[in-house]
């Protein structure tokens, strides 16, 4: 995206930092539950509460989840990593420091390929990913003079993914977040729900004259909590920078807050008040050392990821790139599609899935797991059309009944007598009847109004209650009228 300034053209330089809550039963350094929605402070151990003398013990599974994620980001797994203390005071972090990774993160450089609207794709480089503990939750709106603190979230494992400043437009950042969420869900390492805060995004933005490779002062916007807001924040912040520069000003390095209502950003913290975190190696935890065998073992567990699945659907099943992309974004949809397409025309199944089927789910406000139409039945419906048992038009009616009753299409077709008539004799009788009843139309046709052919076909199909095979109807009418 190029921003047209008064004097020149500008381009956006943007990088993201994404905090992703690790899916695990217990917290990263304690045995308290990670379950969301418990009563206040019920999922808290003495470690999480920062009681004196308590020691953190690393959750093996959180490491496993992080390595799996790193591999999913096609990233280097660091066999040596260490934990550090990041020191700051805040009421929802009782120890006064966060255990995180600083100099030696568990995951190094990687890459995520994003799919853009115009059908092209772009590689976004990952700078690093480290693991750390989440803070508790501060609730400011119960009392005007008090803040309430719930430590249930304190100590839940987080993966912080940092990208290189590779985004040149809000669209690229939006596509990246969608792709990252899709990868994490396929891996089962984070549920990726931005609105529930299990995936949170910090956005860094600067601008530069289009075509140059300089890096100017950037501003950071913390905790922007939806894909749409991230895209809005990038665009509006970039436009603000252009305006500042073109009016002869300089952009200050600062932390800004995105206001979802106005879409604008405002100053939260200037650089001179920036935190001084005084990182140092965590004395309570020795370094984390992984072996090649361990990394290989995790790699062997990786599921087929969206890019690989997409490529396979295009090459082996003949889907278009776009259809494959839409279907593969969500693992449940991809699994459903594969089940439905097994043994049938995959392209036609994809059309039904993305058309009538998705429309039905949306109308009924259901997820794909709750669909009354099973994958097998959707495949069977397509098969009935392919085998000329029913016409495409009747199939839409059958689908409506399927989405009400959940019945198999064969059963519905049988019970309602919807089978397509392919018996030439039976259709011929209807054709003859229509011709006999409409002598005026016949003479008009013969007089040159050949456009009436469509009307005849329609009459015959209607007379047969939609069951006459249209190809046969066409052929017979042509024979008799010409």
């Amino acid at each position: 995206m190029i921003i047209e300034g008064k004097e020149k053209k500008w381009e956006i330089v943007c990088g993201l930092e994404i905090h992703c809550q690790i899916i695990s039963e217990s917290k990263i350094f304690s045995g308290a539950s990670t379950r969301f929605g418990a009563d206040a402070n019920e999922n808290v151990s003495f470690v999480d509460a920062g009681m004196p003398g308590m020691l953190p013990t690393l959750n093996r599974y959180c490491v496993h989840q992080a390595v799996k994620t790193g591999l999913g980001l096609r990233a280097k797994i660091n066999k040596f990593s260490e934990f550090s203390r990041k020191n700051y005071f805040y009421a929802d972090m009782p120890t006064g420091y966060q255990i995180t990774q600083f100099q030696y993160p568990i995951v190094g450089e990687g890459v995520v390929t994003v799919d853009l609207e115009d059908g092209s794709s772009k590689d976004i480089r990952i700078e690093r990913m480290h693991i750390e503990q989440d803070a508790g939750k501060s609730i400011h709106d119960i009392d005007s003079r008090k803040t309430f603190i719930d430590l249930n979230r304190a100590g839940v494992g987080l993966m912080e993914i940092v990208t290189k400043p590779d985004f040149r437009s809000p669209e690229e950042a939006g596509a990246f977040l969608k792709k990252l969420r899709s990868i994490l869900r396929y891996l089962g390492t984070c549920d990726g729900n931005m609105d529930e805060g299990s995936m949170r995004c910090d956005v860094n933005v600067s601008v530069r004259p289009a075509g140059s490779d300089e890096l100017r002062t950037r501003c950071e916007m913390k905790n922007v909590n939806s894909v749409k807001f991230v895209m809005q924040a990038i665009e509006n912040e970039a436009r603000r920078h252009v305006e500042v520069y073109e009016n002869g000003g300089t952009v200050e390095q600062e932390t800004r807050q995105f206001d979802p209502i106005s879409g604008q950003t405002k100053v939260m913290r200037k650089k001179e008040f920036a935190h001084d975190y005084r990182y140092f190696p965590e004395p309570d935890l020795p370094p984390l050392v992984l072996t090649d065998e361990y990394i290989k073992q995790v790699a062997d567990e990786l599921p087929e990821l969206p890019d690989a699945k997409k490529a396979r659907f295009v090459e082996k099943l003949g889907l278009t790139k776009y259809d494959a992309m839409v279907i593969c974004e969500n693992k449940e949809v991809a699994d459903f599609f594969e089940k439905a397409a097994a043994g049938h025309d995959a392209k036609k199944v994809a059309n039904w899935l993305m058309g009538d089927f998705f429309a039905m789910l949306k109308r009924k406000n259901l997820t794909i797991d709750e669909s009354p139409v099973s994958a097998e039945n959707l495949g069977a419906l397509v098969e009935l059309i392919e085998k000329n048992v029913i016409s495409g038009k009747i199939a839409k009616d059958v689908f409506e009944i399927m989405s009400e009753t959940g019945d198999a299409p064969e059963k519905i077709v049988e019970e309602k007598g919807l089978k397509q008539v392919t018996d030439t004799g039976a259709i011929e009788a209807v054709v003859d009847k229509v011709i006999a009843e409409n002598p005026d139309k016949v003479s008009a046709y013969k007089g040159g109004k050949t456009g009436l052919m469509g009307w005849f076909v329609g009459q015959v199909i209607k007379e047969s209650k939609g069951k006459a095979n249209p190809q046969i109807v066409n052929r017979l009418l042509a024979e008799k009228l010409n």
Binding site: G31, A32, N41, L58, R60, Y104, S144, T147, R278, V289
Partner: protein, 95 residues
């Protein structure tokens, strides 16, 4: 490395310590003494030495992913100066 008054105030702020004005000079001196003493380490040649992140060469012991603690909000809140409805309560925090 010389410590000045401004640095003393900065470190005190970060550590949330209140140092009375008439104690600052003395603290400044103490700071410098400690740092000078530690600076002796610079006399050792460490060109070939890897940075040390843990003093004890112990393996990292991990736990399994099981829930073993919780459901003890009363104990967690027992020493809280202020608690209401199961929450810790602090003076309004607005950044």
């Amino acid at each position: 490395m010389a410590i000045d008054r401004q640095t003393v105030n900065r470190v005190a702020f970060l550590a949330r310590l209140k140092i009375d004005d008439d104690k600052i000079e003395a603290t400044e001196e103490e700071f410098n003494k400690i740092l000078n003493w530690v600076e002796q380490l610079n006399e050792v040649n460490t060109d070939e030495v890897e940075p040390l992140s843990a003093v004890n060469d112990l393996p990292l012991i991990c736990r399994e992913d099981n829930v073993t603690e919780g459901s003890q909000a009363d104990k967690i809140l027992a020493n809280a100066p202020m608690a209401e409805y199961g929450y810790f309560v602090v003076p309004k925090v607005v950044e």
